[in-house]
């Protein structure tokens, strides 16, 4: 039981450190910031688990896995909140002074521009003189996405292709 309590305690500490790091260094990448504090806290947890009296491989592994699962849930939660349309619809309803008849605060073109900005900042896409190009990393991600979509039998990521097929060619 001690290993579980320790893992949860270290996770709570990592999440708090992450909240502090976002305020101290707001320009840092959110996921990378958590990976840094998470790795540091995970290492301290490992040291603490090994230093327990009569440490067994089972308790050390169980403690580390509980910490890893909680961290993955946390990363999933904030990446979901930032990218999810459902989360933004729910949040929009909480805005003070919002009346039910108000239009959405963020227009669809603003959503798209923000997504593009984010992709440029992540190095998936680069923009030069108004022309967007997929970087090598972006190309790998797109091919991995297509391969996985095939594996899951989603059909294919076809919307983009359909749109590009319908758009007039520019020379």
């Amino acid at each position: 039981m001690t290993c579980i309590m320790l893992a949860l305690g270290y996770f709570a500490f990592a999440a708090s450190l992450h909240a502090v790091s976002r305020r101290v260094k707001p320009r840092a990448n959110t996921v990378q910031a958590f990976l840094v504090v998470g790795t540091a806290c995970g290492s301290c947890l490992l040291y603490n688990l090994v230093m327990l009296p009569n440490p067994a491989a089972l308790t050390v592994t169980a403690g580390l896995l509980v910490f890893a699962f909680a961290s993955e849930l946390y990363i999933f939660a904030f990446t979901f909140v930032f990218g999810s349309v459902s989360a933004s619809v729910l949040l929009a309803h909480l805005r003070p002074g919002r009346r039910p008849a108000d239009p959405p605060a963020v227009g669809p073109d603003i959503m798209l521009r923000r997504r593009l900005e984010g992709m440029c900042a992540s190095g998936l896409v680069r923009q030069e003189n108004g022309i967007y190009e997929v970087t090598q990393v972006g190309r790998c991600l797109a091919s991995a996405g297509r391969a996985l979509a095939g594996f899951f039998r989603h059909g294919s990521v076809s919307a983009g292709r359909e749109l590009s097929d319908n758009s007039a060619p520019t020379t």
Partner: protein, 172 residues
């Protein structure tokens, strides 16, 4: 190897194998609800079986908590990673944008990409109706909606996650 650890590894291997061979070919398991149920039901059955196995084994009863933590965390990591990849490749806006830019090398401008806004609006409409069917929001008249009690709790949880990351998006 420890027989309980073997059982945990074997169960997870069988689960992914069953998905590859049987479930992914069945239409109900290609929907969000279906794929989520496949993992949620498996998690519950696995938790019950593991608890039973550990408590029935007199020698390992003292180690029940670490065994359960190990098994449930492993299944949790596996299911969460699977579901994230599944939903990311199902209708990801970013992947659609990447695909569009990649298929227009050297000529993808904002004007080429902006038609994808229609997907964003469609997505918002579809998500609003899903939130309604989940009982998180309810219509009051026409297209106007308000949060239900359950929806208000969910929205507050979303706001808490926002607070932890200082409300800034991922890469800023």
């Amino acid at each position: 190897m420890d027989p309980i650890v073997e059982m945990i590894a074997g169960y997870l291997a069988c689960h992914i194998l069953a998905y590859i061979v049987v479930f992914r070919k069945m239409a109900p398991f290609r929907t969000e609800k279906g794929i989520f149920s496949l993992h949620a039901v498996s998690y519950l059955i696995f938790a019950a079986a593991l608890a039973l196995m550990v408590y029935r084994d007199g020698q390992r009863r003292d180690l029940a908590a670490p065994y359960l933590a190990l098994g449930l965390s492993l299944h949790g990591i596996y299911s969460l990673s699977f579901l994230e990849l599944w939903s990311l490749t199902q209708g990801s806006y970013s992947l659609t944008i990447l695909s569009l830019i990649a298929s227009n090398p050297g000529r993808a401008t904002l004007d080429t990409i902006l038609p994808l806004c229609a997907i964003g609006s469609e997505k918002e409409k579809a998500r609003t109706s899903i939130l309604e069917s989940l009982g998180l929001i309810r219509p009051i008249s026409g297209a106007q909606t308000v949060l239900t009690f359950k929806g208000s709790l969910c929205a507050r949880m979303v706001r808490l996650v926002y607070w932890f990351t200082d409300g800034r998006s991922l890469n800023r």
